[in-house]
């Protein structure tokens, strides 16, 4: 395969991943690594590097659209980024030490978990109960609804903070955005409204990923010839996807994409266990 063809095929696949990721709300990053390793036989370290870069691009590229909606909470995001960036530093360090089979195995489990989370029916619990720590850190806010402003106060801050640290570790270890874990830390652990959780999570993903980028660069994970088509493809796909979102059959796409993720997760687990 020549360089030109390799670039074109990788670009088109990444475009598809970005498109599906944006339409299903699962993010394109989570399928880039299995796509590159299973289909194109790319070494997992190069795949993780290319994925992390495209995660930063999509998170920063989508930020403008989220801010306009007025749901994201800059204080909650910034406070929890202390946890995710510390976690990412540790995760990125781990990925330079851990054997590739272990990374592949953890990746497979995270894929299955992401699919499970996206298919599960969610229950939203919004509370204005005064949580002492949340009040002190001002982890509260309000967002516009049809019936006026809805106020909320974060709960169980230490639990949310701990889960965010874990999300950071997974982001650094696997080169993904860890959006699924971040959203759960906010809407399940901290009882924040779902819209606030998803938009704030998108805002945090880029910063979390940037914390791993330095170590990835120094460890030689960022191969320019591979990162180029992946980053441009995922970014382009997610921008197109977010425009189509209003008209797309989101529920069906979510199911299709989740099944794809489950298949890739099983493949990665089997592959990793076999090579142990």
């Amino acid at each position: 395969m020549t360089e030109l063809w390799f670039c074109i095929i990788i670009f088109v696949s990444s475009l598809g991943a970005g498109l599906l990721g944006a339409l299903s709300g699962l993010g394109g990053g989570v399928v880039i690594v299995p796509l590159l390793t299973i289909v194109f036989h790319v070494d997992i370290h190069y795949a993780i590097g290319a994925s992390l870069v495209s995660v930063i691009a999509t998170s920063s590229g989508a930020a403008a659209a989220y801010v306009r909606e007025g749901f994201s909470n800059i204080r909650i995001g910034m406070f929890l980024e202390i946890a995710t960036t510390f976690g990412a530093l540790f995760g990125a360090w781990l990925t330079t030490k851990a054997p590739t089979q272990i990374i592949g195995l953890i990746f497979g489990i995270v894929l299955l978990y992401s699919a499970y989370v996206s298919l599960k029916v969610k229950h939203e619990v919004i509370t204005q109960e005064a949580d002492a720590l949340a009040m002190k850190l001002r982890l509260l806010g309000s967002f516009p609804t049809e019936n006026g402003e809805q106020a909320y106060v974060g709960q169980r801050v230490p639990l949310g903070f701990g889960m965010m640290w874990m999300a950071g570790v997974l982001s650094g270890l696997l080169g993904i955005g860890s959006g699924a874990v971040k959203v759960i830390a906010m809407d399940q652990a901290m009882r924040l409204p779902f819209k606030v959780s998803t938009t704030t999570s998108n805002f945090m993903i880029g910063v979390t990923a940037a914390a791993s980028a330095g170590l990835y660069l120094r460890s030689g994970y960022l191969a320019p010839g591979l990162v180029m088509p992946v980053m441009l493809g995922v970014l382009g796909g997610s921008l197109i996807g977010s425009r189509l979102l209003v008209r797309a059959p989101v529920r069906t796409l979510k199911v299709v994409f989740s099944l794809l993720i489950i298949a890739m997760g099983i493949e990665m687990i089997i592959n990793s266990v076999r090579r142990m």
């Binding site: 395969m1 020549t2 360089e3 030109l4 390799f6 670039c7 194109f40 036989h41 790319v42 070494d43 997992i44 370290h45 190069y46 870069v53 930063i56 691009a57 920063s60 590229g61 930020a63 403008a64 989220y66 801010v67 306009r68 007025g70 994201s72 800059i74 204080r75 910034m78 406070f79 980024e81 202390i82 960036t85 510390f86 530093l89 990125a92 850190l137 880029g206 910063v207 990923a209 940037a210 914390a211 791993s212 980028a213 330095g214 170590l215 660069l217 120094r218 460890s219 030689g220 994970y221 960022l222 191969a223 320019p224 010839g225 591979l226 990162v227 180029m228 088509p229 980053m231 441009l232």
Partner: protein, 123 residues
């Protein structure tokens, strides 16, 4: 208009999008040149070797860019991309300073320190 969270966020979002567009343009230009110059050399990412210093250090990328080497142009685009979330946190520090919110100047300052440490720390 006084300083408030919403204004910081809009400011930040515009900066993020500009950063991503500049980075994507650089990666695209470098990519076109790269493919044009090495179109029949097969690529191999099956084995991990780790990229050479030219593509894994700031100094290497800076040296390569002087000769307009395609992959160094891509690399520089990636560095711009990595810098955008860092700049975002820097702008939040500035925004919270203008809001006179000492607690969150501290919080965002700490996040900025972690990011700078991760980018510039060498073993």
């Amino acid at each position: 208009m006084s300083w408030n969270d919403k204004r910081i966020e809009i400011w930040v979002a515009i900066m993020l999008r500009t950063g991503v567009l500049i980075a994507a343009a650089m990666v695209l230009i470098g990519g076109v040149l790269y493919v044009a110059q090495s179109h029949d050399r097969p690529s191999d990412y099956r084995q991990f070797h780790g990229e050479p210093a030219q593509y894994s250090t700031l100094r290497g990328a800076a040296t390569g860019i002087r000769t307009l080497e395609p992959r160094s142009i891509i690399m520089l685009g990636l560095l711009v991309l990595i810098a955008t979330p860092v700049a975002r946190v820097g702008m939040c520090v500035a925004g919270f300073l203008l809001e006179r919110d000492r607690l969150y100047v501290g919080v965002s300052g700490l996040v900025l320190l972690i990011l700078l440490y991760s980018l510039f720390w060498h073993r």
